[in-house]
């Protein structure tokens, strides 16, 4: 099987077909098959305990589980994973790990408490406050490279072209896309990428993440947890995302489309080549 066939199989495996009826204003109906994206619940278990159920497209479950558990603080290094069983039919991922999950569990999804007696925290979850650190990176990217990688992402997006039902996310350096993932949830697609780089020990200080989703605080916090310096979207950023980007030293770029982009923070990493 050549790579084009492999790619086609991967796309069709993750899609389903439905017989649909398309109406126009006059009530004229056309019946035809249409590609639709799969959605399935996948439950993550850590050391026998249920952690969370994610609604996702159902592929790359090992990466999704590893990325989720790492970003949430349950795993610290790939060596912590002692075993992982994924069951696509059942919709389960069972991870056994060497993890200090008791204390992490106590903090899991606990809101930070602010006394109002000082400049408070930007974080709303304690685990995020614990695990997010300012990003360290000297990487510089030219505007043309940013726009080129965005075009690359659009070209890779076969499932999106067929269904308009997924978010696309890619990890790239200045010259090429290194990894591409899509999912019905923008967080899942990012978690898959985080999981992949976590499992394979890929350093991120010279990379950028390109997504079709909105740039929200959760995405910023994830970037700060993995030392990812540049986030790009064809979409907009939220207020808290911008505050966090400034505080965590992340270059935040939105509305990257039609040959332009908007920089919300971290413009020092944009190597425009034009003085001033």
């Amino acid at each position: 099987m050549n790579s084009a066939e492999e790619s086609e199989n991967l796309v069709t495996e993750n899609l389903a077909s439905a017989r649909v009826r398309i109406y126009d204003r006059a009530g004229k109906k056309v019946e035809q098959p249409q590609w639709i994206v799969r959605e399935k619940p996948v439950t993550l278990y850590l050391n026998g305990k249920e952690v969370v159920t994610l609604l996702c497209a159902g592929h790359h479950l090992d990466e999704l589980a590893a990325g989720f558990l790492y970003a949430e603080g349950f795993l610290r290094s790939p060596e912590d994973i002692l075993g992982m069983e994924t069951d696509n039919e059942e919709g389960t991922v069972k991870v056994s790990a060497r993890a200090d999950d008791t204390i992490t569990e106590r903090l899991w999804q606990k809101r930070t408490i602010s006394s109002g007696c000082a400049k408070g925290s930007l974080f709303y979850y304690s685990l995020d406050a614990l695990l997010s650190k300012p990003v360290k990176s000297d990487v510089r990217i030219a505007p043309g490279q940013i726009l080129d990688r965005l075009e690359d992402l659009n070209r890779l997006s076969e499932a999106y072209r067929r269904t308009h039902g997924v978010h696309n996310t890619a990890l790239a350096d200045a010259d090429r896309i290194i990894l591409f993932r899509d999912d019905i949830g923008r967080h899942n697609a990012v978690d898959m990428i985080v999981g992949h780089v976590f499992l394979h020990g890929i350093p991120l200080a010279d990379k950028m993440l390109i997504t079709t989703g909105r740039l929200t605080s959760e995405l910023l916090i994830k970037a700060a947890k993995v030392n990812l310096p540049i986030l790009i979207s064809r979409n907009t950023a939220t207020s808290l995302a911008i505050e966090l980007a400034v505080s965590l030293g992340v270059t935040l770029i939105g509305f990257a489309r039609a040959g332009k982009f908007t920089v919300y923070s971290g413009q020092e990493r944009i190597d425009a080549g034009i003085p001033g």
């Binding site: 200090d100 903090l107 109002g116 007696c117 000082a118 406050a129 614990l130 695990l131």
Partner: protein
């Protein structure tokens, strides 16, 4: 295990006798002192008189009548500042003061009082040279916190008192953190006024405080009303303590405070202070060994209060995690003392404040240090 390290805010747990005294008042006394001649009122009066005596003794005042009960240190501070200072007056205050001093002063400044801050060193010690130069004849008042509520720094009270006596300027001491821990000889030092709360190192319940005003200083009261004395007169009595004690007093608070002070006297103030300061030194030496932790140590320590930060982490987050993951109670932020944090260089996020009490032990401290080590390790 739950560990309480927030004694600089409110001491906890209280001695059993304090709890019993409050309960006894509510269950067995239940009367208003000075508002009746029945046995209940008489017992209430006796409780108040005995507490007043003990309170006077613990701050070095010979005449208990000069010691009045307030609801807390803040009320006493407001009585003095708003009663004593008039537009055009000049007042000096330290760069380590609490908002209980700073906010009333700010209000008074808007009404024409000249307020001038005396700087402190980066560890929180008053600059005596500047104070000495600034203490001129027209200075109406010097306000000084005895022990910092942020890092436990002990101010040079004796030296300041001497300077003030020489300049014939009354010294007003905020003893919220020191009363019950540091020996205070208010009369001997010639202190003009002193305010403190009863719920911190004096081990009483919240809602009770002490104010001392030197007999020669005519400070009008903040509120007037019924005192149970000279009721035929429409003017507020001029004598102490009635001048400042209008309305039904907080008898459960006074009864609890009496037992708190009694506990300190029986146990020994030195023993309590040495225990708390000993724990603070242990905390500081352990914190110094954790990379990425900065401790704000005072030159001279007056209480067990320790302030620190984990670098690049908001103190509020550190405090939240200590509470949620380890059940350790600390206080974070500015501790109502933004000036002190500007002095220490920790404004605007503040610090994490750990304040052991007499009930804290070395095991509590080890547990706290291990919790903090976990946090620092997880940040990597």
């Amino acid at each position: 295990m739950p560990v309480y390290l927030d004694n600089a805010a409110t001491s906890f747990p209280k001695p059993k006798a304090v709890v019993e005294a409050v309960r006894h008042v509510l269950e067995g006394v239940g009367a208003s002192p000075g508002r009746g001649s029945h046995k209940h009122a008489a017992e209430a009066m006796a409780i108040i008189a005995d507490c007043r005596q003990k309170a006077a003794a613990i701050i070095g005042v010979s005449d208990p009548e000069r010691v009045v009960f307030t609801k807390n240190a803040t009320e006493g501070i407001n009585v003095v500042l708003k009663g004593w200072l008039r537009p055009g007056d000049r007042v000096l205050y330290s760069a380590m003061e609490h908002n209980s001093v700073v906010r009333p002063l700010w209000r008074l400044a808007s009404q024409g009082v000249n307020i001038e801050m005396i700087p402190c060193s980066p560890s929180g010690v008053l600059d005596l040279g500047t104070l000495s130069r600034e203490l001129r004849a027209e200075t109406r008042l010097v306000v000084l916190v005895h022990v910092s509520n942020v890092n436990g720094a002990l101010m040079p009270l004796e030296e300041v008192a001497q300077l003030c006596s020489r300049a014939q300027t009354p010294l007003f001491v905020d003893a919220a953190q020191s009363a019950g821990l540091q020996p205070i000889e208010a009369e001997q030092l010639g202190i003009g006024m002193l305010a403190c709360s009863g719920h911190k190192a004096l081990l009483g319940p919240a809602g009770i405080g002490i104010l001392y005003v030197r007999p020669d200083l005519d400070v009008p009261p903040l509120i007037e009303g019924g005192t149970g004395s000279r009721s035929e007169e429409l003017e507020q009595p001029e004598f102490c303590p009635d001048r400042y004690e209008s309305g039904t007093p907080n008898l459960p608070g006074v009864a609890g405070l009496r037992e708190g002070i009694a506990y300190i006297m029986e146990t020994g103030m030195n023993r309590i202070r040495n225990h708390e300061i000993g724990l603070a030194h242990h905390i500081e030496s352990e914190l110094r060994r954790i990379p990425g932790v900065r401790v704000f140590e005072p030159e001279t320590r007056g209480s067990g209060t320790v302030s620190f930060v984990v670098e690049k982490m908001n103190p509020a987050d550190t405090g939240s995690i200590l509470d949620q993951a380890f059940d350790i109670a600390v206080r974070t932020g500015l501790h109502c003392a933004p000036l002190a944090h500007r002095t220490l260089g920790t404004f605007p996020e503040g610090t994490v404040r750990v304040s052991p009490g007499f009930a804290s032990d070395i095991e509590n401290i080890e547990y706290f240090i291990n919790g903090l080590r976990w946090i620092v390790a997880r940040r990597g």
